[in-house]
């Protein structure tokens, strides 16, 4: 459908093949900027999720003990309740009248509300919150496979704590990290509810652009072309992650 078009004045699609939808995406800075913005948001989400998930997963594997099941459940909760509920919850938390701004105001720390919604900050918070479990789960299983005594062994040979992480733990947990990153990146790239609600219509991502075209403008062929571009990017990332996994396994 992405190579079809609608004649002027009608919404009935004309199935004569055309590349004009793709030309429009490539030729208009608006869509390219939107694509770059989406990629950037997904990358930032992946990096933040990895930063948060590494210590958390380590803690779950090594220190949580009998609370492990409980903590893993807590980490998983945002995933099982869908995208909408947590996002609406975050809106209440981050909004100008929300808990964070309300607390800061009542403590006298700020006069006017911080803008946490309607910009990339809000979207990033929402995306990291939503997709952190996708990073934690593969990491937990990767770290679980490390022998319990590698840390002690390395340190007995004179390695510092940071060196242990950099030279031993990170390389050995790389498959988990790569799998988690690919999952989080793809989930963030295609996420729709979170940028729509937390971006308050001011931050356009590729998914919200496709939604606007499909459900509001009713230009279905163009919306399909946007979706196809997203699909192509997902395929690229899938291939890259697969390649990286192989490389990590070999080294």
């Amino acid at each position: 459908m992405s190579i079809w078009s609608q004649p002027t004045g009608s919404l009935i699609v004309d199935p004569t093949p055309t590349i004009k939808n793709y030309a429009r995406i490539a030729g208009d800075g608006y869509y390219i900027r939107g694509l770059l913005r989406t990629l950037w948001l997904s990358l930032a989400t992946t990096a933040l999720a990895a930063l948060l998930a590494l210590p958390l997963s380590w803690w779950i594997v090594r220190r949580a003990g009998r609370f492990r099941g409980l903590i893993l459940t807590l980490v998983l909760i945002p995933m099982v309740c869908g995208a909408l509920l947590p996002t609406l919850g975050l809106m209440n938390l981050l909004g100008p009248l929300g808990v964070i701004n309300g607390t800061l105001k009542s403590l006298g720390l700020i006069d006017r509300s911080w803008k946490l919604l309607g910009n990339q900050t809000g979207i990033l918070i929402g995306l990291v919150h939503a997709f952190l479990p996708l990073m934690v789960l593969p990491l937990v299983s990767a770290l679980d496979r490390l022998p319990r005594d590698v840390e002690g062994a390395a340190m007995s040979l004179g390695a510092k704590r940071l060196q242990v992480w950099r030279r031993i733990i990170l390389p050995l947990s790389a498959p988990g990290l790569i799998a988690g990153s690919a999952l989080v990146f793809c989930a963030a790239l295609t996420s729709f509810v979170t940028p729509l609600l937390l971006g308050q219509g001011k931050v356009a991502t590729f998914a919200t652009m496709a939604y606007q075209q499909a459900s509001l403008v009713l230009d279905w062929p163009f919306a399909s072309a946007l979706a196809m571009v997203m699909l192509a990017i997902l395929a690229l990332i899938g291939t890259a992650a697969w390649g990286a996994q192989k490389w990590a396994a070999e080294t």
């Binding site: 002027t8 900027r33 729509l196």
Partner: protein
Amino acid sequence: MNATSRLTLTTALTGFVLAASAASAQDFSGQTLVVGTWGGDIERLLKEHAAAPLEAATGAKVEFLLGGSGDRMAKIYAERQNPTMDVTFQNIYEAPQLLADDLVVAPDPELDMYKNVWEGMNDGCYAMSLVGLGIAYSKDLVSEPPEWADMWNPDYKGMIAMAPYPSSEGDGLLGVAARLEGADEHDADVAFAKVAELGEPALTYTSLDEVFALMEAGEVAMAPMISGYVLAGLKEFPGIGFSFPSDPGPVLIRDMVCQVKDSPNPELAQMFIEYALSAETQKAYAEEIYFGPTNSTVELSESAAADTINSPEEVDSLLALDWPWLIEQRADWTERWNKDIMGQ
């Protein structure tokens, strides 16, 4: 058995026979009419005032399919070889598009329900309800019911909330902005430049409550909004007012009810539309959710009359946009809106 009781029995029997024959003439039991509309109050009112009497009179069942009007457009186009929906409620610019693409039955000027609607409003489909784009405002920040021009007061820069685009609200605002500059919506450059002067919107709202909460907190000063739901919602927000401006007047927006072409139950569909356009349903729309009746024979209570568009003078004072032309601009204007107004 005396004469009177014999007479009563005869009458009752005759009545029974008549009722039975009437029912058999219009017996649609076993059939299901599918009606696509918005959820919430609209669905409730249609269930009470159109679906219930239709089911009682015909034995058919009425099934509601809820969602946004854009979803229904997609469904109608996708199923155009084999429609499953009989009746659909669409907005002011979707209805003429559907008729142009030959997907709905053209309104029939010979029917009473057509004639009862204000003249010139059955455009594409039958006109269901009348609302106007006016201004919702925070009574704390804006002391008097504002005119359109007041939105451009520098004190309120960045404090205006807007609906997502494309929408009747967005097109309405562009049409008003152009008129404030002495042009009209056909002059897109003027319209967009003027709306861009408002600055980035305080928020693009997805629900009315969101705007109202921020208005009461003094974060949003004004928002172009459609009467109806807003007026109904305001009863819970004493700090918020709604103004029908006069220069230019509120932008006319109406909901339309359409009979899908070649649908499975055309007779039932037409009957449903008759109930929907009846004075009784239209009165309930006005009294309960402040949607103005399109049926010119409806008589309203004083309070509903004050908050709805229901007299010929009020109808005349509304600003009518060139919707067919606006539809053609949709794709270009959406990109322009995203770039010029939302700064993306």
